[in-house]
Symmetry: D2
Subunit: 142 residues, 4 copies
Amino acid sequence: MLRRVSEDGSDAVVVSHRVRVGYGDTDQGGVVHHAVYLRWLEEARVEYLRARGVDYRAVELDERLGLPVVEARLRYRKPARFDDVLDVETRVGRLSRATVRFDYVVRRGDERLVDAQVTLACVQLDAQRLCSVPAAIRVACS
Amino acid sequence: MLRRVSEDGSDAVVVSHRVRVGYGDTDQGGVVHHAVYLRWLEEARVEYLRARGVDYRAVELDERLGLPVVEARLRYRKPARFDDVLDVETRVGRLSRATVRFDYVVRRGDERLVDAQVTLACVQLDAQRLCSVPAAIRVACS
Amino acid sequence: MLRRVSEDGSDAVVVSHRVRVGYGDTDQGGVVHHAVYLRWLEEARVEYLRARGVDYRAVELDERLGLPVVEARLRYRKPARFDDVLDVETRVGRLSRATVRFDYVVRRGDERLVDAQVTLACVQLDAQRLCSVPAAIRVACS
Amino acid sequence: MLRRVSEDGSDAVVVSHRVRVGYGDTDQGGVVHHAVYLRWLEEARVEYLRARGVDYRAVELDERLGLPVVEARLRYRKPARFDDVLDVETRVGRLSRATVRFDYVVRRGDERLVDAQVTLACVQLDAQRLCSVPAAIRVACS
């Protein structure tokens, strides 16, 4: 984990999650398949929350709240390859009443490979209804 | 769907399920990644049951029974490639009180690419306990 | 395949690709995992090209050109569930010298589940260099 | 990494690889989808080789040799769940002229979740022909 001032001078907390590219993450183009990044962003999001004190598993189990993805944007700048070690940097880009947008940069050392934004909505799992982001997550995302 | 006497002279029902290899199903070796077949076998299993009158979605939802995989064996003979059209032939290889074993051959035209056996156990989803395969599935698998 | 005037009154060709949700496409939230759609959009793109006379496999093998994804945007409106039959409607949204943007709607009957845009860049596979979209693909995408 | 005498008293080297279950690794049954383990076994295999001095990426790139999977057997004993931390223990079970069989146990703490065996064949990537396992890998697997 890493807390630091982000590039744009804002003081958002950035949490870094390291992954290594598996053979099955590649496609016949010889690079990581573009869908795989959504899985890594998801892992990075769970680690971001954990680093900030929120256990997402418990949120679902105990509070019966979920954070499904409602929007995703990815910009693929450079390809990653098998066995590369990548760092997924995560920060909260925007927090509204019922949604949180996570902003990501996937890096390989100094190279910026992928930029992404993923917006989640807070829902009551049993009623399948939108609800306000609860205080604990709100604090973790501030 | 296809019903016919199988190769070994037994009169097992064989149901055939056609898939086309996607780009993302390949890896940098230029062939289908070996884990992808388990997904196709699963699809073929659901289609086998449907062809024989069992709606697996309803089994889970209405009867609260599930058929998790307890064992899988795959023999990869020849690789499949992007955009290939494959036929997954499914039959029931063995039916016991609480388990069903599905036997598969994945073909590309005349070529036999993969042989597999997948054993499922019948469980009560709420109690997470083994139970007898219910009559409807038993009939479908005979 | 389906050719028709699209919703907005433009005369873009729309090609429809049908998929059925597999068990492994779901996650513990009980709905299709958000990353799975990128795989279906990719399949739909290959079928779009095929319906319009372009064999993407041959483009890579014979012309040594590829169309990697450089940008993806997905808006998840409603969840899909196991065993649902979905139609992925594909049209070309924008064609520039070196890129093509495909626009998608994923439907379940009358319901609109996901909207997406995926932009591909044309690259020479051996040189790994951007190049102009070749005439055959350009025609197919017009 | 961990070197130790294995359970059965043999002196095989065991290398342990830790993974954490992602949300997308689960299915609507609320547990890890059975196909996901093949991906983790593959990662564990690459780490086994690295721990023993073999860089599998370099084997493919420099020596133009590959190790495709020719057989896989998995026995699923207990399910893993989202956010679980798992240890994949890998050892070489059998080494023949042209094949290597890796034997795995996937554990969650003291619980044994999955046993598996995956057999790889050594092939010349350009000729797509079986060949002898090269000395460096042979030593690493002894």
